[in-house]
C-alpha cells in the first residue's frame, strides 16, 4: 500500500499550481474578514476533494486495472484512498489554522482565534464527512456521472441550507425560541464526542460500502 500512497501523493503534488491557487484564495478570504471556520473549512474541503480525485485520475488513465495487479488487495486500494483523504484533511486543516493563527497574531486578536477553536475542530469532521460520502461515489461511478452527482449534492446542500434558514426564521417568528437551545444543554465536549461517534459510524459504513463496490468492480 505504500506504493499506492506514494503514487497518490505524487499525483496530488503534480497539481502544485492548483494547490497554491486555493491557498491564495483562502488567504484572500481571511484578509476580507471571513470567519476562521469558513476559511479553514474551504481549504479543507477543497483539499479532501483533491485527494479523492486521485480515484478519477486512476480511471482517466485506465490505471486502476494496472494498480490492481500490484501486490495489494482491493481493500488495501480502498484503504489507501481513505488514508489520502485523512492526510489531506489533516494537512489542510493544520495549514489553515496556522494561517489563521499568524493572522490573529498580526492583528493582536489571539483571544478571538482561541474562541473559534471549537468551530475549527468541527472542520476536521467536515473533511471526514466529505471522504465518507465521496469515496464510494468516486469508486462506483464514472467520471462524467461523478460531475453530475457532485452538482446535485452541492446544489442539494445549498438548497437545504437556504430552506433550513428560512424555516428557522419562520419558526422563530411564530414560536419564540432560541436556536441555541437545540444543543439540548449538552456541553461542547459531549456534542463533540457525539459528532465524533456519528462520523466514525459514517466512515465505517462508507469504507465497507467502498470495499463492496471494489469487490464487484471489473476492469
Amino acid at each position: 500500500m505504500k506504493g499506492l500512497l506514494t503514487k497518490d501523493f505524487s499525483i496530488t503534488m503534480k497539481r502544485k499550481s492548483y494547490i497554491l491557487l486555493i491557498t491564495a484564495i483562502s488567504m484572500l478570504l481571511m484578509l476580507t474578514g471571513q470567519s476562521n471556520a469558513f476559511v479553514v473549512g474551504y481549504l479543507t474541503s477543497i483539499a479532501v476533494v483533491l485527494c479523492i480525485n486521485t480515484i478519477s485520475n486512476d480511471k482517466n488513465d485506465n490505471s486502476m486495472a494496472f494498480f490492481m495487479t500490484f501486490p495489494v488487495s482491493k481493500r488495501e486500494y480502498v484503504l489507501s484512498k481513505y488514508i489520502m483523504a485523512g492526510c489531506g484533511t489533516a494537512c489542510s486543516w493544520v495549514i489553515g489554522c496556522i494561517m489563521e493563527l499568524v493572522y490573529a497574531c498580526i492583528k493582536g486578536n489571539l483571544v478571538g482565534f482561541a474562541s473559534d477553536i471549537y468551530g475549527l475542530l468541527l472542520i476536521i469532521f467536515l473533511g471526514a464527512v466529505f471522504g465518507a460520502i465521496f469515496i464510494p461515489i468516486y469508486l462506483k461511478f464514472d467520471n462524467e456521472q461523478i460531475k453530475m452527482i457532485m452538482l446535485i449534492i452541492f446544489g442539494g446542500i445549498a438548497l437545504i441550507s437556504v430552506a433550513a434558514a428560512v424555516l428557522i426564521d419562520f419558526l422563530e417568528k411564530i414560536v419564540p425560541f432560541n436556536t441555541m437551545e437545540l444543543h439540548f444543554n449538552l456541553s461542547e465536549a459531549a456534542v463533540l464526542a457525539l459528532i465524533l461517534l456519528i462520523i466514525a459510524i459514517m466512515v465505517i459504513i462508507s469504507y465497507v460500502t467502498s470495499c463492496h463496490i471494489m469487490e464487484k468492480k471489473e476492469f
Binding site: L5, T6, S10, D61, N62, T69
Partner: protein, 281 residues
C-alpha cells in the same frame, strides 16, 4: 504456473470459454483478431474480471484468493492502462520502490538510460516506442516469475519491436524458470519468441500448438478447382475459395509434399493460420 479450467465469462454479446495451461519456463503466445477475447483471457488470468464459471489458478492458487506476496511475482504490461500520463520515469521509480521488495531502483534507472528513456519527461510526451519500452521495463523490473504482456509491441516499428522482444529474451536467459504470456497481432513477434501458441476466435481456443510444429508441419496449399476436387482432404483443416481455385490449410505438410508434388505448397506461418482459421470453411 497458470491454469484456466473451463473459464467462462459472458458479456451481452460475447462469451469467453477457455481452458489454458502455461507451464513454468514457457513463453506462450495468444493470437486472434480484434475482439476475439485475448484481452479478456489476460484480464481473467490477472483476476481483473469475475468469472461466471470455472477457475483461474496462478502459482497453484485461485487468482481470487491470491496473496499480495504472490501478486508481487507478477509482472504486467496492459495494452491500455499503466501509470498516470503525468508521471515521469523518476516518479515511476519511486512508486515501484515502495511497491516491490525485489525492485532495484539503480538497475531500473540504468536500464532506462540504456533504452534512452528520459528521466524527467512526462509519459504523455513519450513516443509510442518509449511508452512500450517503459511498460515492459516496469513488468520485468522486480524479478517477476510470470510476465503477462498484452500487445506489448502494438504500434511499434520493426526496430522498436525487436528492442522490446530482446528485453524479453534477455529476461528469460536471466530467469529461465519464469513464464511469459504474450498477446500480439504481429505474428512474426510470436514466431520468434514463443514456445507455444494459442489461437482464439469468438472467445474459444481453436488451436493450441507448439510454434515449431506450426512452422514445420503447417502449410498453405494453393490449388485449382479441378485439383481441389481430387485432393485428399483428410489433413485439410480449412479451405477458402479464391479466383484461381482454393487455398487450403493443412497440418500435415509432408503428406501433401509427398503425394501432390505438382501443387504449390507454402510453409505455414501464424498469419496464414489466423487468416485461414478465421475466414476459411
Amino acid at each position: 504456473m497458470v491454469e484456466l479450467k473451463q473459464a467462462v465469462k459472458t458479456y451481452k454479446d460475447f462469451q469467453l470459454s477457455v481452458d489454458m495451461n502455461i507451464p513454468e519456463g514457457n513463453i506462450t503466445g495468444i493470437v486472434g483478431r480484434n475482439g476475439a477475447g485475448k484481452s479478456t483471457v489476460i484480464k481473467a488470468i490477472l483476476g481483473l474480471i469475475n468469472l461466471d464459471e470455472g477457475q483461474v489458478n496462478v502459482f497453484g492458487d485461485d487468482i481470487k484468493k491470491i496473496k499480495p506476496k504472490d501478486k508481487a511475482k507478477l509482472g504486467v504490461a496492459l495494452a491500455e492502462g499503466g501509470f498516470c500520463v503525468n508521471f515521469t520515469v523518476k516518479d515511476i521509480c519511486k512508486v515501484l520502490k515502495n511497491t516491490y521488495d525485489d525492485f532495484d531502483a539503480n538497475a531500473f534507472m540504468e536500464e532506462c538510460r540504456k533504452l534512452d528513456l528520459p528521466f524527467d519527461k512526462k509519459l504523455s510526451e513519450f513516443s509510442t516506442g518509449m511508452k512500450a519500452k517503459i511498460k515492459v521495463l516496469i513488468a520485468i523490473s522486480h524479478n517477476a516469475k510470470l510476465l503477462v504482456l498484452d500487445e506489448p509491441t502494438a504500434g511499434l516499428d520493426v526496430v522498436a519491436r525487436n528492442e522490446v522482444l530482446d528485453m524479453l529474451r534477455v529476461y528469460m536467459e536471466r530467469k529461465p524458470d519464469a513464464s511469459i504470456l504474450i498477446s500480439s497481432h504481429i505474428s512474426s513477434d510470436l514466431e520468434g519468441i514463443c514456445d507455444d501458441i494459442y489461437m482464439i476466435k469468438d472467445g474459444k481456443i481453436i488451436i493450441h500448438e507448439d510454434t515449431d510444429i506450426i512452422l514445420s508441419k503447417y502449410a498453405v496449399l494453393k490449388v485449382s478447382s479441378v485439383v481441389y476436387d481430387k485432393l485428399d482432404k483428410t489433413y485439410i483443416l480449412k479451405s477458402k475459395k479464391q479466383d484461381y481455385g482454393f487455398v487450403c490449410l493443412t497440418n500435415e505438410k509432408q503428406f501433401y509434399l509427398e503425394n501432390y508434388p505438382e501443387i504449390i505448397i507454402e510453409n505455414g506461418n501464424i498469419d496464414d493460420l489466423i487468416i485461414m482459421m478465421t475466414e476459411g470453411e
